[in-house]
């Protein structure tokens, strides 16, 4: 079974993101880049499907600048078989629709039975790409899945997705698109052997023209990024504990209207 996993390289969760000089993007200086955590669940699940079935191929794909290769290599070190890098200045300003169109085109070329995404990338939190790709492909899609079992004959997959208060269980015919929710699995570390072997695995660069796509202007344009207003300083109540407690209750009721 061939499985494609789409991943995105994002700033490390510990990064203090700063708004860039043009106030439309972030300042990349000093950022450590990682594979978006939900995408790691997706890679892990794809590897588990392959391992459980005892055969198959896991292909990771990303759209991004040159540095995004590091993210692909991390996935290769985890155990993915090969990688595809949609790497073209034409995609520099791509919005989620353009990214989805490009990913759908390369997935159509690859012809996998299963496609995994993370439920959203943790940088812009759009969460749009997996469903848009499914729409372009005309394939069924289940989002935020917590469990999956591929049928022995590879004709369908049973998935459980998170809904308010419980799980919703589906049977979906293959090929299909799934997006991973936290809790689906615990992603493995790459091993040292995996890291050393990653260099020997293929990372294929793909240009927009290779997919029959032209320069595709974004439909969605960022007007500005704005920082949150600084939080007003906290107030420390001093004095006798009994009086301070009384003042706290009064303040919560009358000033904050919280109780």
């Amino acid at each position: 079974m061939k499985i494609v996993v789409a991943v995105k390289q994002v700033p490390d969760t510990a990064t203090q993101v700063k708004i860039g000089a043009d106030s439309k993007g972030i300042d990349p200086a000093g950022i450590t880049w990682i594979v978006s955590p939900y995408d790691e669940f997706a890679v892990e699940e794809a590897l588990r499907v392959k391992e459980k079935r005892g055969d198959g191929e896991v292909v990771v794909v990303t759209l991004g600048p040159e540095r995004a290769k590091e993210a692909l290599r991390t996935c290769l070190a985890m155990g993915a078989d090969r990688a595809i890098h949609l790497n073209d200045p034409a995609w520099e300003a791509a919005d989620s629709l353009a990214v989805s169109r490009a990913l759908a085109a390369v997935i159509r070329q690859e012809g996998p039975q299963l496609v995994f995404f993370g439920r959203q990338a943790i940088d812009d939190d759009m969460g749009a790409v997996s469903t848009q790709v499914a729409e372009f492909l005309g394939w069924p899609c289940a989002s935020w899945i917590m469990e999956e079992t591929v049928a022995a004959d590879a004709s369908s997959v049973r998935v459980a997705r998170q809904v308010e208060g419980g799980l919703e269980i589906f049977d979906i015919p293959l090929p299909c698109v799934l997006s991973a929710q936290k809790g689906l699995n615990e992603p493995r570390y790459p091993t040292l052997k995996g890291i050393m072997g990653a260099k020997k695995k293929e990372i294929r660069d793909v240009k927009a023209a290779d997919l029959g796509l032209g320069a595709d202007g974004p439909r969605l344009s960022v007007v500005a990024l704005e920082g949150l207003p600084p939080r007003p300083p906290g107030r420390i109540l001093s004095g006798e504990p009994a009086a301070a407690a009384k003042e706290l209750v009064r303040s919560l009721r009358e000033d904050a209207k919280a109780i």
């Binding site: 040292l192 050393m196 260099k199």
Partner: protein, 381 residues
Amino acid sequence: MKLELTEEQQMIQALAREFAEKEVQPVAGRLDQEARFPHETVKRMGELGFLGIAVPEAYGGAGADPVAYVLALEEIAKVCASHAVIMSVNNSLYCDPVLKYGTEDQRRKFLTPFASGQKIGCFALTEPQAGSDASNQHTLAVPDGSRYVLNGRKAFVTNGREAAAALVVAQTDAAKGRHGISAFLVEKGTPGFLVPKVEDKLGIRASDTAEFVFEDCRVPAENRLGSEGMGFKIAMSSLDGGRIGIAAQALGIAAGAFERSVAYAKERKAFGVPIGQHQMVQWMLADMATAIDAARLLVWRAATLKGAGQPFGVEASMAKLFASEMAMKVTTDAIQVHGGYGYIKEFQVERYFRDAKITQIYEGTSQIQKLVIARHLLGTQ
């Protein structure tokens, strides 16, 4: 000159950091207090490939290089020096010599399971009367048909209780002095191989340090590593590599204590400002950072030379000497920056301080490193 890590080296460093912070940090303090060997996390280190980093894949290792090895060791030691020494001894003092001097059969039996982390190894050179004076070996190995019969006592063997096999150094021909010393691979459970005692220590308390006694212990002749008389050379060349590992361990201990100190100096307030605003605290932090970086460069140089197949013995001694003295000073100052809280176990820097001390002692004391460096300078033996 280029000071740039390869992508693989950076990935291995990042993996070691993540593993250490997520899996070792939560247990490190308790393991230290209870002096308990970390079976679970050591098993994980084996699965990930940290126990045979520079061993080729064909023998169960990760096939990486000495630079990747010191990067990983530093990250592990930043969190727990005990894990670092368990790893360093298995890599440098056990796997390295078996790879370098072992026959194909010996490598299959005594290297593959050890580099892949299914078993761990140890190195038994020191004896009660033979520490710095390592060639003063009293353990005897007397040939008897297809076997050697070992009798004697080994002191302070790291991993000694937990190891499945030991590289044991013994005298096969006392008349020849250091040229009559040989090395053996001895399996645990061989009759006459006893482990009567495990030491209670100041630091690296989660690492076991054991005493060995050999009483008419019969070791098959095919377990001799290298030829007869080569044992001392094997031990000394292993220690050259081992010293890079201990230097990296010392570096990590210092860097870990330093990171905690910087964080504390930003938070702790005295006289109305964070203590990091006081010039005397800044002074300590600046000195710590500079010394740590200097040590790191010495460690990287020694590892780079080893990886390139060039002589590295004196560079390894310099790195070990400087890094271990530095670690003692930096961890002392780390407690100082923490004030009274630094003296209290909950704040953990006192563990780094206790752990740092051993790096000035094992695999050649600081005095012995100076001896090695001076002999090299003066061309004397």
